[in-house]
């Protein structure tokens, strides 16, 4: 004997908040109640419309006034962060130490490539229903659109052989122009993001670099046109392998 389906159940169904058992019950009930089914679809359409209208805000650059002030405690935090990174990774910290002695707020606001990539990763990876703007089923359109906005030909690397399929991509606003973000997902629903931004023309420095940002593994490198950062919680070795696959596809 199952509990009767309530209005609350229907909302929870529309919002993906039912447990598996109740979900099955509501599904079969809706199959015989087309009017209620239409109402649920209407609610979902409302949520989708809200996302279409407001998700663009997520990609806008943050105004400086919203970043925490560069006061003394913040400098302390930066130094602690830098020290932890040094211990963990053996990265040479001369730059970080030099930076922290400069009392300039804008210096703090300028995030590095792996850091920006990790923040963008953290913002979009938890999205359940709207992780990307353009899905992988429209890959040609996605690539053409992002190439146009970044002003240079781009491609969506394939990682299927490594167990990650392309979910899609979106356009973000970075500190110095627009940024492309591709998202990948494994069968276990683990997600990776590839962050691609324009770099000022310079001698290509294709050395692979690794950073750990808030527990995320980030591999990043630059070529003559773009800076790339691949982020995920895969562990360093797996991320190195994935990063090499992406690198070869852009270089090839």
């Amino acid at each position: 004997m199952t509990t009767p389906i309530s209005e609350d159940d229907l909302h929870a169904y529309a919002d993906g908040q039912l447990d598996a058992a109740r979900l099955t019950q509501v599904e079969s009930w809706l199959a015989t109640h087309p009017e209620r089914r239409a109402q649920v679809e209407e609610w979902r359409a409302q949520s989708a419309a809200l996302h279409r209208a407001f998700d663009q805000v997520l990609g806008e650059p943050l105004p400086a006034r919203l970043l925490p002030p560069a006061n003394a405690p913040r400098w302390f935090d930066l130094r602690k962060l830098a020290a932890v990174a040094w211990i963990a990774l053996g990265v040479v910290l001369g730059f970080a130490l030099r930076d922290q002695t400069l009392p300039r707020a804008d210096k703090a606001a300028v995030a590095s490539l792996p850091r920006q990539a990790a923040i963008a990763h953290a913002v979009f990876v938890p999205e359940v229903r709207h992780p990307v703007e353009v899905g992988a089923e429209q890959e040609a359109h996605l690539v053409a659109w992002l190439s146009k906005r970044l002003g240079a030909p781009l491609k969506a690397p394939q990682l299927d052989q490594a167990g990650y399929r392309l979910v899609g991509g979106r356009l973000l606003a970075g500190e110095n122009g627009e940024v492309a973000q591709f998202m990948y997902e494994s069968a276990e629903k683990k997600r990776l993001t590839l962050y691609v931004r324009r770099e000022a023309p310079k001698a290509a420095d294709t050395a692979f670099r690794y950073a750990s940002e808030n527990g995320l593994d980030v591999f990043y490198w630059t070529d003559a046109r773009f800076g790339y950062a691949l982020s995920g919680s895969t562990g360093r070795e797996a991320m190195l392998d994935l990063g090499e696959r992406v690198y070869k596809q852009f270089a090839g």
Binding site: H11, Q17, S47, L50, F54, D55, E60, L66, D77, G94
Partner: protein, 186 residues
């Protein structure tokens, strides 16, 4: 070459600001706070004011935040309280339970000279308490329990507001409230 000094680990009494990971966690929430505030207020400038106030309050009250409590609903609850205070201060009295309110005139956000999008206008025609629930559930995808915690109301109230908000939003989008949009402010 000089090696970096390892800073001392702060004692708990001295930890006046959130630990670095928590601070980063707050920064990572800013885009979502902005998205919600934009939809809630319908005005980019007012939205960022609200986000800024929320962040300042969160940093002040950091020590009152209990570890283990979800960060996102906590930040949304701070924003909610500030938003309610702001509306009271501005004499906007539509913060009440009933949804048989007179439809308000268009919000002041038209001062930017841009035509408001349909959706933005439809949101403006919801009572603020319904707009909040609709946005926290539909846009921010919080669980009902998280919405209840953020707004400090029982979960049953979340459900009834959600139900009324969705019905009213549909009616507004369908144009049933359109004639009343022509209300002209004196």
């Amino acid at each position: 070459m000089s090696l970096p000094r390892i800073p001392p680990i702060p004692s708990p009494e001295k930890a006046r600001t959130p630990p670095v990971n928590n601070r980063d966690a707050i920064i990572a929430e800013i885009p979502r706070l902005r998205r919600y505030a934009r939809a809630l207020t319908g005005n980019a400038e007012a939205a960022d004011d609200l986000v800024q106030d929320t962040l300042e309050r969160a940093l002040e009250k950091w020590r009152l935040w209990q570890q283990g409590r979800q960060l996102r609903p906590w930040l949304f609850s701070i924003m909610h309280n500030l938003h309610v205070d702001g509306r009271r201060r501005d004499g906007r009295l539509d913060y009440r339970e009933e949804d048989d309110l007179p439809l308000p005139p268009q919000r002041a956000s038209q001062q930017d000279g841009l035509e408001l999008r349909d959706l933005d206008r439809a949101l403006a025609l919801l009572p603020a308490e319904q707009r909040e629930v609709l946005l926290l559930v539909g846009l921010e995808e919080l669980s009902y329990a998280e919405v209840a915690a953020a707004l400090n109301i029982p979960q049953g109230t979340v459900m009834s507001r959600l139900s009324r908000a969705r019905a009213r939003f549909k009616a507004v989008l369908a144009g049933e409230a359109a004639p009343l949009l022509k209300v002209v402010s004196p």
